[in-house]
Assembly symmetry: C2
Homo-oligomer: 149 residues x 2
DNA sequence: GCATGTTATTTGTATATACAAGTAATGTAC
DNA sequence: GTACATTACTTGTATATACAAATAACATGC
């Protein structure tokens, strides 16, 4: 559905304005696909993102700064995110012996199992993007890369 | 910059996963362009969106439901948004005589002036999207439309 | 080895968001 | 004209976010 119809606006002054509004509107659409998906699994998008980063290094630990740099949403408060994941038993935290300012975070077996459970369901989530062909998905992704410069 | 480099991830399992992450990452990028722009003008993105909708109908009023349907972010709480805009003197609200459940919202002269002030600065904001050519902007926008179905 | 700056994480706080429940006016069936 | 449902907006609340300030460990120059 054209963005003009979505927000009941006849036309945009120029193509860049249309793109900006479309990006903002599409983000909300994406969030509404993604949020319930993770919610039913007892995670938030950011919590899942952290677990994925930790699995990538497992069994090595990852420190807060590195987690932050690899996160899709850089604004997340890593301290409080990790607190939540510890509560749920999905990660552990230890002070780094070599540099006691740093915190080593590791994913637990329980966390790994939770990720596997998410993986099994992932096709349900990605199917929501199948209005685009594979080629269009690649094209869209590359345009977003270029947009950000 | 490729999304792989942005989040320090070597590769994605498939093109749809890459697109989803790219959409989420790009949204944060867009927000970081947009939020400070409106903040310096004493507005939030949603408040500006409402003022724009009201200007479109000015001097006719718009009721809450119509505002919500035309907003880019449908999750906004219109009641509390309007409260803020009244505080700032940019809109008025009156109970609709014909149907006393409805609220008629109108933009004030002060609100119109604020919008003009935003309009003057808009080129600064849109210039941030100029990594894409006009043709690419149209293409990207159309792909987003198609993505949502 | 002490002062000063830098890095890594934590905490505080004001505002925003998501989501559910509440209220009040209107419409509809009988 | 009186129940009952629906519409339109409001309120409450728990959680999340943005942003600034604080703390604590380490690094550097002297």
């Amino acid at each position: 559905m054209r963005i003009e119809d979505e927000i009941h606006q006849k036309h945009f002054k120029d193509d860049y304005r249309r793109l900006l509004v479309n990006l903002l509107f599409t983000n909300n659409w994406v969030n509404q696909q993604v949020m319930p998906f993770f919610k039913q699994l007892g995670l938030t998008l950011q919590q899942h993102n952290v677990l994925g980063i930790l699995r990538g290094q497992h069994p090595e630990p990852v420190c807060f700064g590195d987690i932050q740099n690899r996160m899709v949403d850089r604004n997340s408060n890593v301290t409080r995110l990790i607190d939540k994941l510890i509560e749920k038993g999905y990660v552990t935290r230890d002070v780094c012996a070599a540099n006691r300012r740093m915190i080593e975070v590791r994913i637990t077996d329980k966390g790994l199992k939770k990720l596997e459970q998410v993986d099994e369901k992932f096709p349900d989530l990605f199917s929501k993007l199948h209005n685009l062909s594979k080629e269009e998905a690649v094209l869209a992704s590359n345009l977003l890369d270029k947009l950000r410069g």
